[in-house]
Structure formats: structure tokens, C-alpha cells
Symmetry: C2
Subunit: 323 residues, 2 copies
């Protein structure tokens, strides 16, 4: 059982990362209005959020800029248009995917950029490229995290090896990403333990990014907090790919640090997310539960949602017959 004193008090090391534009962008192809993004930035400032992730630094060679909103590419000038010189305590983050980012070229010196944090997203099989991206970004002056996706499919021995490789880089944070929303809190406890061992050895922080396939994104996030994770991802109204993420309004309600305020989040949801929900679909539903339960990528469930199918039982049969 966790210590009572730890539940009543707070750890000043905790960092809340708003991933609404980035993970939420996956459900609206990053077409957010400037008004929305400016209001979100203002809400994050008022709510005491520590980092705001604007989107991806995606390769414009690989992805057609005419087919996505600008936050898939997060050009420095587009961020500046929202935040100016960002003379605030809110830091700016972007995600750089292994194999989908021209990082040498598109990520410039931090001193020239409004961005503070580069989050390198990788699967277990591309850790060496992630290491190169982390070193590149760190050399340019950025804070960095490494977000290891699909952790529920990784072998413990491989995770240990990857954490040892990453421990030797300048990376600041090691992120557990439950991409499939497949993990239960008890499994999160074990994985955080694994990450914490490496983090303590190498002087890193541990982060958590959860998905809500089994209505556990918030529960898994607070489980991880109790186990020592300091960097916590959340999105307004759970907005995110498939079943969505840990809700910011739940997370800030839980955290005890008086700097965090839930009221600006509620205001933002009322003004912007309710309308967003009318045109864009995300959030817990049976099809996402099923891919989560079966520890599968949600792509089949996303397709099921797009086709407005409701034949959950047939879908279940499709998922388990994997000839």
C-alpha cells in the first residue's frame, strides 16, 4: 500500500505535459484553428501545466503538407505565431518520430527556436536511431525524452537493454507509452519499477503516456505517479487517437500541487471541446476495449469507428481470428 503522506502531499518534481494537439491531432489530421490553439495555450498557462506539446515535427518529404494541418509539422514560425517569444513558465514540446522526421535539418538550434523539449518516439526495434535523434537534439540545446511505444508488447529483457542504451545518452526522461491501452495498473507498477531502476542508475526521470481503451488511462497514470513517475501526459477531454488519453481535468483534480488549477481546464472544455466533439470522434468504446484487451494496435478499431460500424460481436470475431 502506498504511504499516506505521499498521497496527501505532492512531489514538486512532477511535470504535466498537455498532449492535446499532438495525440488529438491524430483524430482530426491536425486541423486545429489558431483560435483553438491560442486558447489552449492560455488555458495551459492558467492551469499551471508544465509543457504543451504542439504536434509532430513530421518530414514534409514523407507527408504532404496540403493533406494535414500545420501541427503535424510544427514549424518554428507557426509556433511563434501562437506563443511569440513564450516568456512564460510553460515550456513548448514537439514529438519527433523515428523514421518520420528529418531531424538533422528540421530541428534547428534551441537558441533560435521557441521549442524547449524534443520528445523522440520510438518502437523497441529502432532504439539506435532514437539514440541518434536524442544526441542530435541535446547537442542543439534541447531537453529530450524518449517515448518507447507499444511497451505492452515488449520483452522485459529487451526493455532493460534499451533503458541501458538510453541511460547513457543525455535524454532527460524515459517514457512508458501504453500505445494499445492494454495494461492494467498492476502491470504499470511493474513496468515503472523497471524504468525507475534505470532512471535512478542514470539520473533520468520516468514518464507515462496512457491510452483509455479499458478506461484505465487516468488510473494507470496515477498508479505510475504513486510508483515514482514524474512526467505525466494528459489531454483535454481525453482527446487522442482511438480511445483517447488520460484526461487533463481528471489529472489536475488528482494532483495536490497548488500550482495546478482545474477550473481553466473546465472552462476550455466548455468553450472548445464540446464543439470539437460534434465534428470529431474519439474516446472509449467497445471496439477500443477489444483491441486493448487483446493487446493489439487500435488500427482495426479506428477503421471500425470510421465506417460507423456497431457490430461489436462480429468485430471481436475478426480480431481473434488472426490466421
Amino acid at each position: 500500500m502506498k504511504e499516506l503522506s505521499k498521497l496527501m502531499d505532492f512531489r514538486p518534481d512532477i511535470r504535466v505535459v498537455d498532449a492535446t494537439l499532438r495525440d488529438g491531432g491524430l483524430v482530426n489530421d491536425f486541423y486545429f484553428t489558431d483560435e483553438f490553439v491560442k486558447a489552449l495555450y492560455a488555458a495551459n498557462l492558467k492551469a499551471g501545466v508544465d509543457y504543451m506539446e504542439f504536434g509532430y515535427k513530421a518530414s514534409s518529404e514523407m507527408f504532404d503538407p496540403d493533406k494535414f494541418g500545420k501541427w503535424k509539422f510544427c514549424k518554428d514560425e507557426d509556433i511563434r505565431q501562437i506563443v511569440g517569444d513564450n516568456e512564460t513558465d510553460l515550456k513548448i514540446a514537439v514529438m519527433a518520430d523515428v523514421g518520420r522526421c528529418d531531424y538533422q535539418k528540421d530541428i534547428i538550434e534551441r537558441s533560435e527556436s521557441p521549442i524547449d523539449l524534443i520528445r523522440v518516439a520510438t518502437y523497441m526495434n529502432s532504439i539506435p536511431t532514437a539514440v541518434d535523434m536524442i544526441e542530435d537534439a541535446a547537442k542543439k540545446g534541447y531537453e529530450t525524452t524518449c517515448n518507447i511505444m507499444a511497451i505492452s508488447n515488449a520483452q522485459e529483457a529487451d526493455v532493460k537493454a534499451a533503458l541501458d542504451m538510453l541511460g547513457k545518452t543525455p535524454v532527460n526522461g524515459l517514457y512508458i507509452v501504453d500505445s494499445y491501452g492494454a495494461l492494467y495498473p498492476e502491470q504499470i507498477a511493474r513496468i515503472v519499477d523497471l524504468f525507475m531502476n534505470a532512471a535512478e542508475k542514470y539520473g533520468k526521470k520516468v514518464g507515462i503516456h496512457a491510452h483509455n481503451n479499458q478506461q484505465l488511462a487516468f488510473a494507470n497514470t496515477i498508479e505510475a505517479v504513486g510508483d515514482g513517475a514524474d512526467w505525466l501526459d494528459a489531454t483535454y477531454g481525453n482527446m487522442g487517437r482511438g480511445a483517447g488519453n488520460c484526461a487533463m481535468e481528471l489529472l489536475l483534480g488528482f494532483l495536490k500541487n497548488p500550482k495546478y488549477k482545474v477550473y481553466p481546464v473546465i472552462q476550455f472544455i466548455e468553450r472548445y471541446m464540446t464543439a470539437m466533439k460534434e465534428s470529431v470522434t474519439w474516446g472509449y468504446d467497445v471496439q477500443y476495449l477489444l483491441t486493448g484487451l487483446l493487446n493489439q494496435h487500435p488500427r482495426a478499431a479506428i477503421q471500425f469507428t470510421r465506417e460507423e460500424r456497431k457490430d461489436y460481436a462480429e468485430f471481436y470475431k475478426e480480431l481473434i481470428v488472426q490466421d
Copy 2:
């Protein structure tokens, strides 16, 4: 951290209670069609559910039978119309509220009734009446549980005293009811510990009934399982008062006992719950999060929902100004 062997294996003592008609009845005034109830009974049989709660044994002196569906009253003949003599392994439960049930008269001898389990629901201030109801039902031959509501508002010393009083009765199960959906898993762990101490002393079982105000109904239920609770309430599609309950489809996906099957639950949801959702409203929303966060009864949030209000920020201010 919980033992790995306990997570991979299962406890044969676990009992799953389907509370769809009872807690779900609170959102549709118990107007379920006979077709729905028969199909639910069939689904529970196929899914391996242990108990099906049909509704309340409410006093027809206090409540007008013309203003509610029949499952608010659960007459024995109405249950028989669905289950016949119920020659199955699925047991039949009803809830009897302290102060709202003419138990001496309306609960007949078990040998004459299709009902197996009487669930006595009480607040902390009416334990002596609950004790009388438990003794009455036990004398008539029923299994009994005592469901202590609004546990998040109870003092630990009072809970201990109540558990000692209940421990000396013939009650089979001591139920933790998070009526306000206010508790975090870490608090559940502490409360289960309190209940387990009494349960072990008196040879009782512990149960959990969770609400989903903070998207934690499932997480709190599986936390309680890991801590030793054996009786678990769930509802199809989370159907229940306000933010709803722990979803049956999530719970059966988690439990490892091969007797539990998730497929019949998915089938039932597809055939019946999707349609139900079109005419009846329940489930997680910001207003329920707020009452849960503030550890308040959800009645203001239910009213907010009924009025189709969406001004969450104003509602938050109403909740915190309690002059």
C-alpha cells in the same frame, strides 16, 4: 506490488454481480422491456455471471407503482415470469433499501421465492435497521450482503464500529459502495484493508460497488480484487446512475477464471445497449467528474444532465459555493 502469481491465476471465490437492472434502473425509472430482461438473463447465463440483481424491493406504500417500471418493486411473480424456477447456476438478487422497503411483509420465505440474495443498502447512520433487515432475511433463508453507501464520507472509526456490528449478524458479504465516485485506487486499497480485517475476523466476504465519476469504476474494482475483495458489481455498458458503474465487459475481460466469457456481453451490448443509449443518458461526463472530485452526491450533476446544460464552468462554481 501485488504478487505476479495472483495476477496470472484466479480466485475461485470471486463472484460477479450484474447490477444492470438495479443501478441502470435508476436512469430509466426501471422501465425495461421483458425482452430486454430475458435477453440479459440469457447473456448472464452464457457469460458465467454469478448473480443477477433484478432491481429493488421498494415499498409500494412509499412509491407509486404507476410511476415506475416493475423492477423497482421486484415482485416474486415478475421475476418468475423471466426466470421460471431458475434451475441454473445464476443466482437472483434484489436490493432492499433501509427505510424504503417493507421487508417484513414483502420479503417472503426463500423457499417460496425465486430470489437467492437480499442486498441491504444502508448509510452509516442506519446500521441498526440494516442489521434488523439482514437478520430478517437470513431467518427467511436468504443469502445477504450489507452495502454501505457513501463510504467516501464515512469516518474510519465509524466504519470499524459498523463492521463489528455487521460481523455479528449472519450477513455473508460486506460491501464497499463508492456512491459518489470520489475514491482513488489508493484509497480503495485502504478501505478494502479495513473491511478485510473485519471480514477475516467474522468469516465474511468483502464486495465492491464503484461509480465511474472519475473514470475509475473499473480501476477501483480491480484494485479491490487485488486487495482481497471477492464480490464484484458490474453493469453492461457501465449503465447506472449518473456516471454509471464498472463495465461488465471490462471486468470479465480482466478476470482470469475460464468460466467467465466476454463474448456474450459484447453481443448483448450490440443488440440492446446501443439502442438503450439512444433514449437514456448515463456515463462519464464533466459534471460527474466534478461532483466526484468534490466528494458530493451526484444529484446536482444528474439535474445538470437532465436540463441538458453544458456550462460546466458555471456548474463548478455552483458546486464549490456551498453557503
